[in-house]
Chain length 142, copies 2
DNA sequence: CTAGGAGTTGAAGTGCACTTCAGGTCAAGC
DNA sequence: GCTTGACCTGAAGTGCACTTCAACTCCTAG
């Protein structure tokens, strides 16, 4: 129905036109319909695929793996077990990384707090550390 | 006191010896003490610095920015405002990204669920989708 | 009818973050 | 004394994920 130009799709998905062409060229995205002049016309379905690719990319999946997944998707229902296996693996990797990063974020937040008390009271002894100093524990320099 | 070889530090921090040398060369890490034979001997303080660099790296801070931060750290207490500003910015960026990725993770989890019910009951109509199908809503292909 | 702008292609270039290499030094164990 | 292995250096190479370029085609507006 509604067909979109490469520029529109780029704007809608946060990609750039060169990236969309690149993804198509390497087989990450399936070849897109063309109009009479040879220009790409993206369908709603294409948009859906691209949206999912963006999601995978933003959770750190390498281009190789995304390509593998999309190839499977184009391979029909017989590839569902392989697809779900791949997705489960990715899900687990993302979960672990997010957990790790959440901890790192806490350490950064703590450090910001330490810096802030240093700014509020330049004399080091006057303000006690607002929390147990993880800096020593975690070998984090202040 | 305890001095560590580059190999030991690599094992302790999850870096490789080449990366440690590289970081020192580009000024991310300060020049390390050497023994009589010219080999690096890392102090506990060095370990702390490296630990923090690992933390920043794992939360996606670019090498350039880490270098900037470490240069400031070596610049004395006068650089604390700049350091805290840099750290706050990074903290905010990490928070936002983690939130975004948590949402993406949910979408992936949903998709895995959809695939799993497809595997359990190959006949599409026999098992209703276990949740409202976000696939359509969010333009996510199944 | 022509000028502009959006699109096309294959090929080359870029930026980041390391990694590998070639050639050399040094301390310790057999 | 000699080999082994860990370390050193500067320079070159690698992998990933795009991005840019040059040369071309085609539709649209003035």
């Amino acid at each position: 129905m509604t067909a979109h130009t490469i520029e529109t799709v780029a704007a809608l998905t946060g990609m750039t036109p060169p990236t969309l062409r690149y993804y198509e060229r390497i087989g990450l995205l399936a070849p897109v319909e063309r109009d009479a002049a040879g220009r790409r016309r993206y369908s709603e379905g294409d948009l859906g695929m691209i949206g999912f690719v963006v999601l995978l990319r933003e959770t750190g999946m390498p281009v190789r793996e995304m390509t593998r997944f999309m190839e499977l998707t184009r391979g029909g229902d017989g590839t569902i077990p392989a697809r779900v296996a791949l997705l489960r693996e990715h899900r687990d990797a993302v979960r672990e990384r997010l957990e790790r990063e959440a901890q790192h974020l806490e350490a950064i937040e703590h450090k910001v707090g330490v810096y802030e008390s240093m700014l509020a009271a330049p004399a080091p002894a006057s303000v006690p550390d607002p929390a147990p100093d993880l800096a020593r524990e975690a070998r984090v320099p202040v």
